[in-house]
C-alpha cells in the first residue's frame, strides 16, 4: 500500500486540528491526549480568517484585520464559504469592506495587489488560492509552535458542506502542503471536545450544539449513544449571527453620532470600517463586563467619538437578534421530532456563544435539568471559541497513525450507515403503588449493534422475578393550569370590549389579560409492545437483577438477566 501513498507515512506525520471559519480560524494540537489551542505568533488563538497585502508583504489574522480600515482594497475576508462554489451561489454580503468577490468563468476570485512595486499589476486569485495561502500561514504558525513541520490535519466543516466544497478544501490544503486526514463535522468536533475530558462519562444523551459564529449560525441535534454520534437534524442560519449583533451596535452608535454631529458615519467606507471594528470590540467587552466604552479616533470628518453602553441597553436594542437565536434553536429541535424536554445538554460554541444573554435566554426555554454549557452558565464550560479546534486535534491524534487508505475505508459510508432504533427498549418495573413503569435500557436513535445493561432492584422479598422486555416511547404530558374565567359565554368582558373601545376610553389593558399561568410539561414514557418475558428464579431478598439487552445489527434482540452476584440466570433471543 505504501507504493500508492500520496501523503506522508503515518510514522512521519505531525498532525494538528484546524478550524477554518469565515470569521476566524484556530489551530490545535494534543499534549498527552489533552487538546490545546495554539496561540500564533501574535498571541491569538482566534485568528481572523483574513489576508492583507501591503507593499507585497502578506499579513494574516489579527494584523490583516487591522488593515481592513486602511487597506480594504488589498484585503480578503469572509471567503471560506466560497470554496467549491460557483459565483452565482455565493453571498457577497460580508465582503463589502474588503475585496469584493468576482465572477471568473463562473467561479469565485478576488483581485488585489499582492506584489510590491507601484507598477506591479494586480493579481486575480481564485478562492482556492486564497484559501491555500491562508492555510499555509496557519500551518506555519503551528509548525513554529510545535518545533516541527506540520504535515497533516483534521479540519472541521459545516454539516452542509457538499462533496464539491469538501474536495475544494482538501485540494486547497494539499496545495499548502497539508494532508487532510479527515474532514469532520463542526458540531461533532464540539461534542468530542467535551466528551474527551477525563471527567466525562459516556452516557446516552441528546445534545444540541449551537455554533454561533460571525456570519453563520449552525445548530445541530446530536444523539450521543455510547460514544457514537448521530446527527438528527440541523439548521443553518445567516440572519441571526454575530455580525447582526455588531450591526445593532453600529446603528446604535451611528445614530448617537448623527444626533451630535449630523453626520452618518455609515455612509463613508472608512468610517464604517472603524465603526464596525469598534462595535465588535465593544460587543466582546460586554460579554465580560456590564459596561463598555466605545471610542474611535477620527470617526468621520476628523471628529473623535467616545461613548459608553451598558449590557442592559445592548440587550434591549439587540433583543430581536437574541430572540432569533432562541427561535433558531427551538426550530431544530422540532425538526428532529423532539421536544426541549428531550434535550440533555445544550453546548454553545463559536465566538458569539460568549454572549451571556444568549445562554440565559436558552436557559429559559429548556427545563432546569438541561445543562446549558456556556461560559456564563457553567463554571466548567470550555471556551466556546476553542471547542471545534480541540475536537479536531483530538480526532487527529486518534487517527494519525492510520494509513490514509485505512482512514478512507473506516469512514466509508458503508461503515457509517447503520440502522438506528426508533423506539426505546426497556424493562417493566413497579412503582410504590404497584403501577407499571418503563425503564429504558436502549434509548431511541441508538445505532445498532448496541448493548446496554441496567441493574434493577428485585421485589422486596426476593423470590421469582419477572423480566418483561417492552418497547417504549416518550410523550409530553401537558398539565394545564386551572382555566381562568374565559370569554366563553357571550356576555362577558371581551364581547363588551367593542363597546368600551367605542367610548374612546383607554384600552391599554388589552394585553394585561394575556398573563396566563404557565402550563407544566413533563416527559413521560409510554409502554409499547411486549417483546419478551423471562424469569429469574430464587432471587435473594434485597438483591439486584442485571438485565442486558443486545440489539444486533440485523435488529434481532438478545436478552440476558441474572441476579447480581449469583450464578446462572436466563438468556433468550428474539428474531429480527
Amino acid at each position: 500500500m505504501s507504493e500508492t501513498r500520496t501523503g506522508p507515512a503515518p510514522g512521519d506525520r505531525t498532525a494538528i486540528g484546524i478550524t477554518f471559519g469565515n470569521s476566524n480560524s484556530s489551530i490545535a494540537c494534543t499534549v498527552d491526549d489533552k487538546a490545546e489551542v495554539i496561540a500564533n505568533e501574535d498571541g491569538d488563538r482566534q485568528i481572523p480568517t483574513i489576508l492583507s497585502y501591503v507593499d507585497g508583504e502578506e499579513y494574516y489574522g489579527q494584523q490583516a484585520k487591522a488593515f481592513l480600515v486602511r487597506n480594504p482594497k488589498n484585503s480578503v475576508a469572509y471567503f471560506r464559504d466560497f470554496l467549491g462554489k460557483e459565483f452565482k451561489s455565493i453571498d457577497p454580503t460580508y465582503n463589502h469592506a474588503s475585496v469584493h468577490p468576482q465572477d471568473v468563468d463562473g467561479s469565485v476570485a478576488f483581485t488585489l495587489k499582492d506584489k510590491a512595486g507601484e507598477d506591479e499589476a494586480a493579481s486575480t486569485l481564485s478562492v482556492s488560492e486564497i484559501s491555500t495561502r491562508f492555510l499555509r500561514r496557519l500551518v506555519t504558525s503551528a509548525s513554529e509552535y510545535l518545533g516541527q513541520k506540520v504535515t497533516s490535519a483534521v479540519i472541521t466543516i459545516p454539516t452542509n458542506f457538499n462533496d464539491k466544497q469538501k474536495a475544494a478544501l482538501v485540494a486547497a490544503a494539499k496545495a499548502a502542503d497539508l494532508e487532510v486526514l479527515q474532514l469532520i463535522s463542526e458540531p461533532v468536533a464540539v461534542v468530542l471536545a467535551y466528551d474527551a475530558r477525563p471527567e466525562a462519562e459516556i452516557v446516552d444523551k441528546i445534545v444540541v450544539v449551537a455554533d454561533l459564529g460571525g456570519t453563520r449560525s449552525d445548530v445541530a441535534v446530536v444523539a450521543s449513544r455510547g460514544g457514537l454520534y448521530t446527527i438528527l437534524a440541523t439548521a443553518h442560519d445567516h440572519e441571526f449571527v454575530g455580525a447582526a449583533l455588531d450591526k445593532v451596535l453600529i446603528n446604535h452608535f451611528a445614530k448617537e453620532f448623527i444626533k451630535k454631529h449630523k453626520i452618518d458615519p455609515r455612509e463613508n467606507a472608512r468610517s464604517l470600517a472603524k465603526l464596525t471594528a469598534e462595535s465588535e470590540a465593544t460587543k466582546k467587552a460586554l460579554s465580560l463586563g456590564t459596561n463598555a466604552s466605545f471610542s474611535v479616533e477620527s470617526l468621520a470628518e476628523g471628529i473623535d467619538f467616545q461613548s459608553t453602553i451598558n449590557r442592559l441597553r445592548f440587550e434591549t436594542v439587540a433583543r430581536p437578534v437574541f430572540e432569533g437565536f432562541s427561535r433558531l434553536v427551538e426550530s431544530v429541535i422540532k425538526k428532529a421530532g423532539l421536544d426541549v424536554l428531550d434535550v440533555d445538554e445544550v453546548i454553545l460554541s463559536g465566538g458569539t456563544a460568549h454572549t451571556p444573554r444568549i445562554a440565559s435566554n436558552l436557559g429559559n426555554i429548556f427545563p432546569a435539568s438541561t445543562a446549558i454549557l456556556s461560559p456564563s452558565t457553567s463554571a466548567t464550560a470550555i471556551n466556546p471559541s476553542e471547542l471545534q479546534a480541540r475536537g479536531a486535534a483530538l480526532q487527529a491524534s486518534l487517527i494519525q497513525e492510520y494509513e490514509a487508505e485505512d482512514i478512507a475505508q473506516s469512514t466509508h459510508a458503508a461503515v457509517t450507515t447503520v440502522p438506528h432504533t426508533t423506539n426505546a427498549i426497556g424493562v417493566i418495573s413497579l412503582t410504590e403503588s404497584g403501577e407499571e413503569v418503563f425503564v429504558p435500557v436502549v434509548q431511541p436513535e441508538t445505532a445498532v449493534p448496541a448493548r446496554r445493561t441496567v441493574q434493577v432492584a428485585a421485589p422486596k422479598n426476593g423470590g421469582d422475578v419477572l423480566i418483561k422486555i417492552v418497547e417504549g416511547n416518550t410523550h409530553i404530558k401537558v398539565i394545564k393550569p386551572e382555566p381562568k374565567v374565559q370569554a366563553a359565554n357571550g356576555t362577558n368582558s371581551k364581547a363588551a370590549k367593542v363597546e368600551d373601545d367605542n367610548s374612546g376610553e383607554d384600552s391599554d389593558d388589552e394585553f394585561s389579560d394575556e398573563e396566563e399561568e404557565e402550563e407544566k410539561r413533563e416527559k413521560a414514557w409510554k409502554i409499547g409492545a411486549t417483546l419478551a418475558e423471562a424469569a429469574v428464579r430464587h432471587v435473594k431478598k434485597g438483591a439486584q437483577v442485571e438485565v442486558t439487552i443486545n440489539v444486533n445489527a440485523d435488529l434481532s434482540v438478545t436478552v440476558t438477566a441474572r441476579e447480581v452476584g449469583a450464578k446462572g440466570g436466563v438468556r433468550g433471543t428474539l428474531s429480527a
Binding site: F87, K88, S89, N160, Q182, I184, S185, A189, A196, I202, L228, T230, I231, A235, D237, H238, E239, K259, P320, G391, Q395, L398, Q409, A413, A414, T416, T417, V418, P419, T421, T422, N423, I425, S429, L430, T431, V439, E445, A447, T453, V454, V456, A457, A458, P459, K460, A487, N492, K494, E514, T530, L531, E533, A535, R537, L555, V557, G572, L574, A576
Partner: protein, 445 residues
C-alpha cells in the same frame, strides 16, 4: 456501564412458565429502525469501524448505495420559494419600503402570514444570491442596489415577530373577501366562508381557532364557532400605518402632536376593525342555513315536547280516572261479597246448629227408642243414668262426632245394637281422655 434503577421488578405471576424461563413475545416493530449515518469521529467510532469492516474493502458503489439508504438531514431545497419578479417591483425605491409588499419582494406572496421563519430566511438568501449589487455588477448590470435594499427591508420586517405582526395586520393581500350573494347561493358557500375565517383567524390571540365547518357540522360546533368569533380576541394593530414621528429633539411639541394623532388613529382603526368583524359575523350568521335548520329543529323538538306533554297529561288523567273507577268497582264488589259471605256463614252456622240439634235429637231419641235399655218400664234411676251419659257424650262430642254418632244410630232398632254403639262411643271418648270412667253411669263397659 450499568444504570441503577430503584423501582423494583415485578414478582413472577403465579403459574408463569416457559421453556428455559424465556418467552419470546414479539420483535422490534417493523418500522423500528431508521438508516442513519454515524459520524466517523471519536474513539468509540474506531471500535465500531473495526467491527463493521471485517477486513472488507468497500467500493465507490457501496458508498453511493449506503448514502442513498441513509436518511438525509441536510435538505437544501428551495423549490417552494420561486415566484416570477415583475419589473414594477424590481424598480421600486427602497425609500418607499412602507408601502412595499414584503412577501412579494421575497417571493413569498402565496404564503404571506403562513410563511415559516425558515421559509423567510431561505427566500431572503435566494434573493441575496441573485440581487446583491456585486452580482449585478458581475452580470454587467448597473450597480443599483435599490431592489437589494427592498429585500433587506422586507427581511428585517418579516424576521422580527413584532414588526411582522404589524405588517400582517395591514396586509390587505392576505384578506379574503366575504362571499357575494350570488356565491352564497352555490354549494361552495361553506368553503368560501371557511376561507374568510381562516384568514381572519391569523389575528387570534387564542389558538386553536374553531373552523367554520360545513353543512354537516353539529349544532354544538356551530355554536362554538359563533361564540368564539363573537368574543374574538385579536392582536391586530395598526401602528404600521402611523405617520412618521419627526426624529429630532428640537420640535418636541410637533413630535408629541404626531404621536397623539397616531395613537388616536390606531384606536379608531381598531374600533373600525372590531365593527367590521362584528358585521361580518352578523352577515354570516344571518345567512347561515345551519342556524336556520337548528332553529327549525329546535322548534320542532319544542313542539314535539309540548304535544308529548299534553298527550302524557291526557293519558295520565284517563289512567287516573280508570284507576279510580276500578278501585270503586272493586270496593263495591268486595263489600257485596263480604255481605254474601256474612250471610252464607250465618246460614251455615244455623244449619250446623240445626244439624247438631237434629243429631242430638237422633241420639237422644235412640235411647228412648231402646226404652232406656230396660225390660219393661224403665226405672227413673235407669232413665236418669242413661240420659246423664247421653248428655255427657253430647256435651263432649263436637258437631262432627255427634253427626257421626247420629249416623251410626240412625236406623238402628235393636236395643242391644244401640247400646253397643253408645258403649263404643263412650269408650272412644274415655280413650281420647275426654271423659272419665267414673263419670259414666249407664254405658259402663
Amino acid at each position: 456501564m450499568a444504570t441503577f434503577v430503584s423501582y423494583p421488578l415485578p414478582s413472577l405471576p403465579e403459574g408463569w412458565s416457559a421453556e428455559k424461563d424465556f418467552k419470546a413475545v414479539g420483535k422490534i416493530t417493523a418500522d423500528g429502525a431508521t438508516q442513519r449515518t454515524i459520524e466517523p469521529v471519536g474513539p468509540h467510532f474506531l471500535a465500531h469501524a473495526r467491527r463493521a469492516r471485517h477486513k472488507r474493502t468497500f467500493s465507490e458503489d457501496d458508498r453511493i448505495q449506503a448514502q442513498e439508504r441513509a436518511k438525509n438531514v441536510e435538505e437544501d431545497n428551495d423549490d417552494d420559494i420561486s415566484e416570477p419578479e415583475d419589473l414594477m417591483m424590481l424598480n421600486r425605491d427602497a425609500k418607499d419600503w412602507k408601502t412595499q409588499d414584503h412577501y412579494k419582494v421575497l417571493g413569498l406572496s402565496k404564503y404571506r402570514w403562513k410563511a415559516t421563519e425558515d421559509q423567510i430566511k431561505r427566500a431572503h438568501r435566494k434573493k441575496v444570491l441573485k440581487h446583491h449589487p456585486d452580482k449585478k455588477a458581475a452580470a454587467g448590470r448597473t450597480e443599483d442596489d435599490n431592489f437589494f435594499k427592498c429585500i433587506q427591508k422586507a427581511t428585517e420586517v418579516l424576521l422580527d415577530p413584532v414588526k411582522r405582526r404589524q405588517f400582517d395586520s395591514v396586509d390587505e393581500a392576505a384578506d379574503v373577501e366575504p362571499p357575494t350573494k350570488k356565491q352564497l347561493a352555490t354549494s361552495k358557500s361553506y368553503k368560501l366562508w371557511g376561507n374568510v375565517f381562516k384568514s381572519e383567524a391569523r389575528f387570534s390571540k387564542v389558538h386553536p381557532v374553531p373552523s367554520f365547518g360545513d353543512d354537516k357540522s353539529s349544532k354544538e360546533d356551530v355554536e362554538n364557532f359563533y361564540n368564539f368569533w363573537y368574543n374574538f380576541d385579536s392582536w391586530r394593530t395598526f401602528e404600521y400605518l402611523d405617520e412618521d414621528v419627526p426624529d429630532d429633539n428640537e420640535n418636541r411639541d410637533q413630535k408629541r402632536h404626531v404621536e397623539r394623532k397616531n395613537a388616536n388613529s390606531r384606536k379608531k382603526k381598531k374600533v373600525e376593525d372590531n365593527a367590521r368583524l362584528r358585521k361580518l359575523l352578523d352577515d354570516c350568521s344571518a345567512a347561515d342555513e345551519r342556524i336556520k335548520r337548528f332553529r327549525q329543529e329546535a322548534n320542532a323538538a319544542k313542539n314535539k315536547k309540548r304535544l308529548d306533554k299534553e298527550a302524557a297529561e291526557k293519558k295520565a288523567a284517563e289512567d287516573a280516572k280508570a284507576a279510580k273507577e276500578a278501585a270503586e268497582k272493586a270496593a263495591k264488589e268486595a263489600e257485596e261479597k263480604a255481605k254474601l259471605d256474612r250471610e252464607s256463614s250465618k246460614k251455615a252456622k244455623e244449619a250446623a246448629k240445626t244439624a247438631v240439634k237434629k243429631n242430638k235429637r237422633v241420639i237422644r231419641g235412640s235411647v228412648k227408642d231402646a226404652n232406656y235399655f230396660a225390660e219393661g218400664a224403665a226405672s227413673p234411676a235407669a232413665i236418669e243414668a242413661v240420659l246423664s251419659d247421653v248428655e255427657l257424650v253430647a256435651a263432649k262430642d263436637d258437631p262432627e262426632e255427634i253427626a257421626a254418632l247420629a249416623a251410626k244410630l240412625t236406623g238402628l232398632k235393636v236395643a242391644d245394637e244401640i247400646k253397643g254403639v253408645w258403649k263404643e262411643e263412650v269408650q272412644r271418648l274415655v280413650a281420647a281422655g275426654k271423659v272419665k270412667e267414673s263419670e259414666i253411669k249407664a254405658f259402663n263397659a
